[in-house]
């Protein structure tokens, strides 16, 4: 059966602020699902969208699929339970930087560590929007908000680096304004076996407007970001003449044709490399030193938690002589009273 984006739109009125980056992510996912459905052979009833609390967590209401709007921070745990209970479902977690990196940080890292086969879309606007503008775990050092009137004095999390630290198998990054790339990455995430974390750098027009503008603004985007593609050289820039090379232990941006640099000197992206050293460096790139990495940064094969749980159940059942509860009750040491 062929689907269109329209097929995944619920009848609920979308209540995000006009101009919010969330609208674009919703559109990208609704556009991605027909393709995902074709690849996996799924239709509506196989999708479950789970969320926590926050603006982005309203997401499930807008999808014509199964949905669970959970409690603050716990979406990863709820999604994990759904997937383990029924591995045939395509389970999506919609979450924000407050939801999954502050109150839900523990569940996020453990979902990634287990490599449970769910797709996590992390809307990173570096602010608490629904509670009207407090700093979040991804707010940059010195951010002035209602709860940090003199600027924050704490280091922000880098979600990609966190995922690498938890031995994640999939990490991708996109911008809310890059609708086509977002759509492409959602398909990649959905078809990856294991925890797929997609970070969307998303704008909050009300409480943190233009937080990503230094890299997302159309006039500078090509020079300040790099879209990584597996097997292709790490080249960026509006003229396509900038690239990344290794300089000792660090990445360095260079210009092809300058200082004797040729195209052959540029690093080739390998998203499938098990060692995450290079992926970690790519995740941590920040403008102005380096372009911000977009695209699939890491995608490696590993066994998934839900598969292993299922296999263990089958394996143990095959060996056991206990077939039902009556057998169980009579197993081990018993005695008969005549």
């Amino acid at each position: 059966m062929k689907f269109t984006p329209q097929d995944f739109k619920s009848d609920q009125e979308v209540k995000w602020c006009p101009g919010c980056g969330d609208h674009a992510v919703l559109a990208a996912i609704q556009r991605a699902l027909p393709e995902v459905s074709e690849i996996l052979g799924y239709s509506h009833e196989r999708y479950v969208f789970v969320s926590g609390i926050g603006c982005s967590s309203r997401f499930p209401y807008y999808m014509k699929t199964y949905g669970f709007h959970g409690i603050h921070g716990r979406a990863a745990a709820i999604a994990t339970g759904i997937k383990v209970a029924n591995p045939t479902l395509s389970v999506w977690e919609m979450t924000g930087d407050g939801d999954s990196l502050a109150i839900g940080g523990n569940h996020l890292i453990h979902a990634i560590r287990r490599n449970i086969d769910i797709n996590i879309v992390l809307f990173n606007n570096r602010i608490y929007g629904l509670t009207k503008g407090q700093y979040s775990p991804t707010s940059r050092w010195g951010t002035v908000t209602k709860t940090s009137p003199f600027g924050t004095v704490e280091h922000p999390f880098n979600p990609g680096a966190l995922a690498m630290g938890a031995r994640g198998t999939f990490f991708a990054r996109t911008l809310d304004v890059e609708l086509k790339l977002t759509q492409e990455l959602m398909v990649e995430a959905a078809t990856h076996d294991g925890t797929a974390l997609v970070e969307v750098l998303q704008n909050c027009v009300i409480f943190n407007d233009k937080t990503h503008a230094l890299i997302t603004d159309k006039s500078v985007r090509a020079d300040r970001t790099i879209v990584l593609r597996h097997g292709e050289p790490m080249i960026f820039g509006k003229d396509g003449n900038k690239g990344l090379v290794l300089d000792g232990m660090r990445l360095k941006a260079v210009t092809i044709g300058e200082n004797g640099i040729t195209k052959e000197d540029i690093l080739i992206h390998n998203a499938e490399e098990q060692n995450h050293g290079m992926h970690m460096m790519l995740c941590e790139m920040e403008w102005p030193d380096l372009p911000v990495a977009l695209g699939v940064i890491r995608k490696v094969k590993d066994r998934t938690y839900d598969d292993m749980v299922r296999d263990q159940v089958t394996e143990v059942a095959d060996k056991s002589s206990i077939r039902c509860v009556n057998d169980l009750l009579r197993s081990g040491a018993t005695w008969v009273v005549e």
Binding site: P60, H69, I71, A77, G81, A85, A317
Partner: protein, 614 residues
């Protein structure tokens, strides 16, 4: 020498030693052997929370009490007939539990200067110091004798010293004319991969037995004759295992696979461990990153169609509080097991209490009542878990089981039921839309029971959204004041209506009269023993022991009406008494409370009643 064998009706033996001395195993083996012999039994482990507290100190003493009888046994016993004390600290910490004529078995090798000092004795005569000089004391150099025994058969005495507890067990077996067969069988199974361990344990056990036969200290031995039990297949079971099995039984009956998301916590961990080994029946267990993930993964699994359970103790229930509210408002089936321990906070993790009742009933934000059940004995945990799961699934709501450390770790013989005697479980799973539904209405209720339907993801055409926001019957988010009030009322009413399905409350003893004793949960055995003692003394009382707390059985009020005085016995400051005051304020409730991390002793219950009669 010829021993006289004396018949006794029942006997209480307390095994005590250092927490590394294997006293839990020793006690369990004695209990198992007695059960096989045909006695009624009840056991109670009493151990410190430190895995290995400083050796030889009073803080590190671990105990295991066994009560065996030739007729019905309801409790592990208050005071003991025999105390096995493997070191001076064990003697010191247990002397308060001795009956006046108790026999004491000690390992004299540990009663050296160092041992006495560690236990805090002032003199080198602990017996005089504890004023137990003239008791029947079997003072045996158990460590030396074990060493000799192993030496003689060429076994390594150093590694073998750990089985000196078996020497003490041998003495007890002799004292009570117990066959060794069952314990030998246990060694054969347990050490099937290392035959020298089988030999070593058997040898030490037998040497202990023979040693007791040869010494002068034992003049007479005793026998507790087998009891007249209902024919059937029996096994020993503890409360934690019974909970796990009851849930598996409900899973089988309902056809819903069992999922347990949990986090290790004393004294509830045994349930998770038991479920984890039974994958053959399709059980999925997830040891989570924390208590909150325990309940949230379970809520997810429930949404996806599993019989979901999360197991914990008091502090864990506190952490699960917010998510429990989510299960209530999303109207999903969920079983929450709280094996209570002494609180608040970390409290005394290994000690039993009933102090989580208020938390279970009221500990959430918003209007959020929840069904609460309490098992009354280790084996009763099985049917409690079964029915909790049945109610949760058939009524689409969370049900809390309030077990207790005393039940979870305590064990008793259990006549194994046949699953065909248990009722069916019929969760309201829906497969298609009703004629008047353009799309699935997740909170459309059965008009009779107010129960909504269970639509499982994967079912085409029933896509819908649930969650923590208040919604109307159609599933749309709603902050309409009247919708909210109606949904609150319906969720509460749904629990109240469960009262139609649960058994009527029974009264043991007098059906009406002067005094009604009221209790709930794990105090049942002590209450029952007290009632029967009072009856034999001519004091007439009734006992209403509640297994269902919310809702209460529908004849509760009628029962209270029939008595002049009501006294509520609890291992807390009066949670149930206060609950009854809100439910039936027309009655006066007297209270008897104990908050010591210990079960009641029968004597204090009878004394409380006798004082009331005066």
């Amino acid at each position: 020498m010829q021993h006289k064998v004396i018949d006794v009706k029942d006997v209480v033996i307390r095994f005590s030693g250092d927490s590394g001395d294997g006293m839990q195993l020793t006690g369990s083996l004695f209990a198992d052997a007695s059960a096989y012999f045909g006695n009624e039994i009840s056991t109670f482990p009493d151990y410190p929370s430190e895995i290995r507290a400083p050796q030889g100190t009073v803080a590190g003493v671990s105990g295991f009490q066994v009560h065996i009888g030739s007729s019905a046994i309801y409790t592990p016993g208050d005071y003991c007939d025999v105390l096995v004390a493997m070191n001076p600290a064990a003697l010191k910490s247990n002397v308060k539990w001795l009956k006046p004529n108790a026999t004491i078995i000690v390992d004299t090798d540990t009663f050296d200067e160092k041992g006495l000092e560690k236990a805090g004795f002032q003199t080198n005569d602990p017996f005089t110091e504890l004023k137990i000089k003239n008791r029947n004391i079997i003072a045996a150099p158990i460590t030396t004798l074990t060493k000799d025994c192993l030496n003689n058969c060429g076994l390594d005495p150093k590694s073998g010293l750990r089985c000196k507890n078996m020497f003490a067990l041998g003495i007890c077996f002799f004292l009570y004319n117990m066959p060794l067969k069952h314990t030998e069988e246990f060694f054969r199974k347990k050490f099937s991969k290392s035959p020298e361990m089988i030999d070593m344990n058997n040898k030490v056990l037998k040497d202990g037995y023979n040693y007791a036969g040869n010494i002068q200290a034992i003049a007479d031995t005793y026998i507790v004759k087998p009891s007249k039990q209902k024919p059937g297949i029996y096994r020993n079971i503890n409360g934690n295992r019974a909970i796990a099995w009851g849930l598996m039984a409900a899973s089988e009956k309902s056809g819903r696979p069992l999922f347990c998301g949990s986090y290790p916590i004393t004294p509830a961990t045994g349930i998770l461990e038991e479920l984890a080994i039974h994958k053959e029946l399709g059980v999925k267990t997830l040891q989570c990153e924390d208590e909150i993930a325990g309940i949230c993964t379970s809520i997810g699994a429930s949404y996806a169609g599993s019989l979901a359970v999360t197991t914990t103790s008091g502090p864990g229930l506190s952490l699960k509080t917010e998510a429990l509210g989510l299960a209530i408002i999303a109207e999903l089936p969920l079983v929450i097991v709280d094996v209570q321990r002494a609180g608040p906070s970390t409290g005394i993790p290994t000690k039993t209490e009933q102090t989580d009742l208020n938390q279970a009933l009221y500990g959430r934000n918003g209007e959020s009542p929840v069904a609460v059940m309490a098992p009354h004995s280790p084996s009763h945990c099985f049917s409690t878990a079964f029915y909790a799961a049945k109610h949760a699934m058939e009524h689409m709501m969370p049900v809390i089981i309030l077990s207790e450390g005393f039940l979870g770790n305590g064990s008793e013989p259990w006549r194994i039921p046949d699953m065909k005697d248990y009722p069916s479980v019929n969760p309201p799973i829906v497969h298609e839309l009703e004629p008047d539904e353009p799309y699935f209405y997740p909170f459309k209720r059965d008009p009779e029971t107010l129960v909504p339907r269970w639509a499982l993801p994967g079912t085409a055409g029933l896509e819908h959204r649930v969650g923590g926001l208040e919604k109307n019957h159609k599933g749309a988010v709603s902050s309409d004041p009247l919708v909210h009030e109606q949904m609150v009322e319906e969720r509460a009413k749904k629990i109240e209506l469960l009262a139609r399905e649960i058994p009527l409350q029974k009264v043991i003893g007098e059906e009406e009269g002067d005094i009604l004793m009221v209790s709930w949960g794990g105090t049942y055995g002590h209450m029952l023993s007290a009632e029967s003692q009072l009856r034999s003394q001519g004091v007439k009382v009734g006992l209403a022991h509640f297994d269902y707390i919310n809702p209460l059985p529908r004849n509760s009020e009628d029962i209270f009406k029939r008595f002049k005085k009501i006294i509520v016995f609890e291992l807390n400051s009066g949670h149930f008494a206060n609950y009854l005051r809100t439910k039936f304020p027309q009655f006066t409730y007297l209270q008897y409370n104990k908050i010591q991390g210990q079960p009641f002793i029968v004597e204090e219950i009878t004394e409380a009643i006798n004082n009331l009669v005066k």
